[in-house]
Subunit: 468 residues, 2 copies
């Protein structure tokens, strides 16, 4: 065990003993957010600068000890926690929380990787600008983690994923070198796109220590509406119509199945539901000038009513009303938790393939498991469904999960892949879907990924056991 | 020489002898568009399908013969032509010209790599949609080449570079395998981002054979204007103002220095210039609904006049008038050609750094070379300047170029790098800027690029001598 002792002594010298945690309770870093993975760390280290991160990685590499980078530890696939060996070092970026620069003329912001997403949003807002990335964990997730997992969220339709919001990166390599790739440039064609290789690589190719992010003018107003559809096909037709009228002003297009809003009504009866129950409810959001957005949204809803794509609609007439509509949407996962364990799928499809998937898989599941509740909701505008399967009312959730999770996953993912979709739209691979990646991606792609991993991290120091 | 004869025989068997060109005049494939590089090819082969491309690459790899992928051969850095050895095979994608699918619900189009950009634009337009990539060579450049070089152009401000317009790729690897990465998904986090690694890799990592592209609703109208500024700082302030008012409706923001429009007036006196000469002329374009864009554009111009950011403006009142404004902008490179050889730089900077660069480099060049003409123009909204240096009136252009090109390049690129810019914004590296990449990019970045190249193309079969 002497190499571990030597390493720990070296890390204490580099960072100070108080930043190398070994003896206390480390479960906050060792357990993943969903409590599916309970690892055991050799140590948790908390460097305060890029140079310290580089020194940590270099020391670990010299001693052949693996490094698990960790941001806010809010990931959903177990990608940021150590394995059970007790031989991996968790490298927490939590002390690197500086907004380094904000350039209003260039519409960019450069931040440390440990900056909390909400902190980045606030820094942009203070300058009268918008950093649009927005997701449930924004109060505790970090920019480094958002980029390492290419986070999605609710504003992707207009602004793209975390990948599209990143212009440059600073990364510590597996050799402990610093790649100074921070850049606020919109156009730069000088060699391979290393930035996008690190974005979404889940800490397996390098440790992101800083990023230059895109900012946008803050929209003057947001206009929000709900609409009721009879069929999933109608929701797709409505999306097409909304795009025609609103184009880049369309910033949100979320769908919610009847069963999802029923669950919300059951567990949160105080929440007002503006529309009577319908097979599908759509939440639309437009951002821009108040008058133009309101006019265009009215045109969308009126023409959709006329075309019988929707049969009912409600336009928010105040900020509070709009917030209540979003609150309904955001309450679905909470209502699911209240209701008990369930089988979750974060999948994406070409939008045109969604109706066929929803119909055929719904039929198949209902036939096989009478009374099963399909809590389908998500970002239709991005082709991203949270396709969650809840036990029939009255059945024991844990038993249902234990019995049906594996076969239902196989059905869903098989069908998704057949339709040109993805078995991980915005959550990533981590430890949870590693086997799916190995078996469901093409062998040519997996071979290239492994070759890249060997090329940049030949000794497998960075986050081993994740993704590949 | 027997391995070459064996290979040629094998290629003839694979493709048919008529698609393996060796004896005739091959200069159309051997010379680059600017006629700076004159290579000599062992053969030009013209496969008609992805499977044929794979077979060609596999055969070449087996015989250790290099492959130079070529699209429309309109590149500006000599990246698509063979070297002078006569031992490289040019793989032309020109027979792969099918639009494979167009999905209006998903807003995507899947095309062969050899589809001409204008053909892709037309296919989208026929479906009432927009494929926004637009650049001077669009009548002959191919989608494969656009993606291999991550082309930019005039609509980047709103729609991004070729990279941002690509959702999925089909690629033949250096081993002659086919990576079937075509995908119309907006969200897919399943492993490393291979797509963006191939985009911009200039044929050195794989041969792009097909792509799935993003489409957009066609804007109802475009509103175009010219504005006159006294200083470069005012153009940046005007950009900020236009973004505030127009946000995503701002689709064009081009600047033209006085010397650039003087050159146009001199060589194309029939073109009307709507504004009197001014140090800087800005072309603004807004796309969306006619009424909203016109109103917002008027607000931009009126408030900018009031704030004394501009001192004159003209709003196009017809499509013809708008086209004439764009025609002025597009005539600058032509006027330069008419005037004689000049020293070209395709550079980018953070927008906030552009005034300092333009002032200090302008001063330095004017001091060193009295009477020198700075034909500065370009996509200010993207931070991309075409910073071209023309001999003083009356001086012999070729002699000026021969004497001053190397030192002026060094001045410009040194300063650009110091300010966080790029020495190749949208043209790429190819053969022309290979030395600049090796010396001006960080060693850490270049080492990673070389490691990736070795990992994916260990025998250096694909486009050797380009980029790295």
């Amino acid at each position: 065990m002497s190499r571990f002792h030597e390493l720990l002594a070296e890390l204490s010298t580099l960072l100070g003993a108080t930043q190398v945690l070994t003896d206390q309770d480390l479960s906050a870093w060792e357990w993943d957010w969903r409590k599916r993975y309970r690892g055991r760390a050799l140590a948790v280290v908390r460097p305060a600068s890029t140079q310290e991160v580089a020194a940590v990685v270099k020391a670990c590499a010299q001693h052949g000890v693996a490094v698990v980078p960790q941001g806010g530890n809010t990931g959903l696939v177990g990608g940021g926690v150590p394995d059970e060996s007790g031989q991996q070092v968790v490298l927490s970026l939590s002390r690197m929380r500086k907004v380094r620069a904000l350039d209003t003329a260039n519409l960019t912001m450069t931040v440390d990787a440990g900056v909390i997403l909400a902190q980045a949003q606030a820094a942009a807002a203070e300058a009268g600008l918008l950093f649009p990335l927005s997701l449930a964990a924004e109060g505790s997730c970090t920019i480094g983690g958002n980029l390492a997992t290419n986070a999605g969220g609710t504003q992707v339709l207009r602004y793209g994923n975390a990948r599209e919001l990143c212009l440059g990166l600073e990364v510590v390599t597996a050799q402990g070198e610093v790649w100074e790739g921070l850049s606020g440039l919109r156009k730069d064609n000088t060699g391979y796109d290393l930035r996008d290789l690190f974005v979404g690589s889940e800490g397996t190719l390098g440790v992101i220590t800083g990023a230059t992010l895109k900012l946008f003018p803050a929209p003057a107003a947001k206009v929000t509406a709900l609409a009721a559809c009879q069929t999933i096909d109608q929701t797709v037709a409505l999306l097409h119509r909304a795009r025609q009228h609103l184009d880049a002003q369309l910033t949100g297009f979320e769908i919610m199945a009847e069963a999802a809003l029923q669950l919300v009504a059951q567990h949160f009866p105080a929440l007002s539901q503006p529309l009577p129950p319908a097979p599908w409810c759509v939440l639309l959001e437009a951002s821009g000038s108040e008058a133009a957005c309101r006019l265009a949204m009215e045109q969308v809803l009126e023409s959709a009513l006329e075309a019988e794509e929707i049969h009912d609609a409600a336009l928010a007439d105040s900020l509070g009303h709009a917030k209540a509509m979003w609150h309904l949407r955001e309450s679905i996962p909470l209502a699911q938790s209240q209701d008990g364990l369930n089988i979750k799928h974060d999948v994406s499809l070409p939008v045109s393939a969604i109706p066929a998937f929803v119909r055929s898989m719904g039929q198949r599941l209902s036939d096989a498991l009478p009374g099963v509740r399909l809590i389908t909701f998500g970002h239709l505008g991005d082709g991203n469904l949270h396709y969650n399967v809840q036990a029939p009312v009255g059945q024991e959730a844990a038993a249902f999960l234990a019995q049906h999770e594996a076969p239902i996953n196989a059905w869903v993912y098989d069908e998704i892949m057949q339709l040109g979709g993805s078995f991980s739209a915005e959550h990533g691979i981590g430890a949870l879907k590693r086997e799916d990646l190995a078996t469901r991606k093409s062998a040519v792609a997996v071979d290239m990924m492994r070759a890249i991993k060997r090329a940049l991290d030949p000794h497998g120091i960075l986050n081993p056991g994740k993704m590949l």
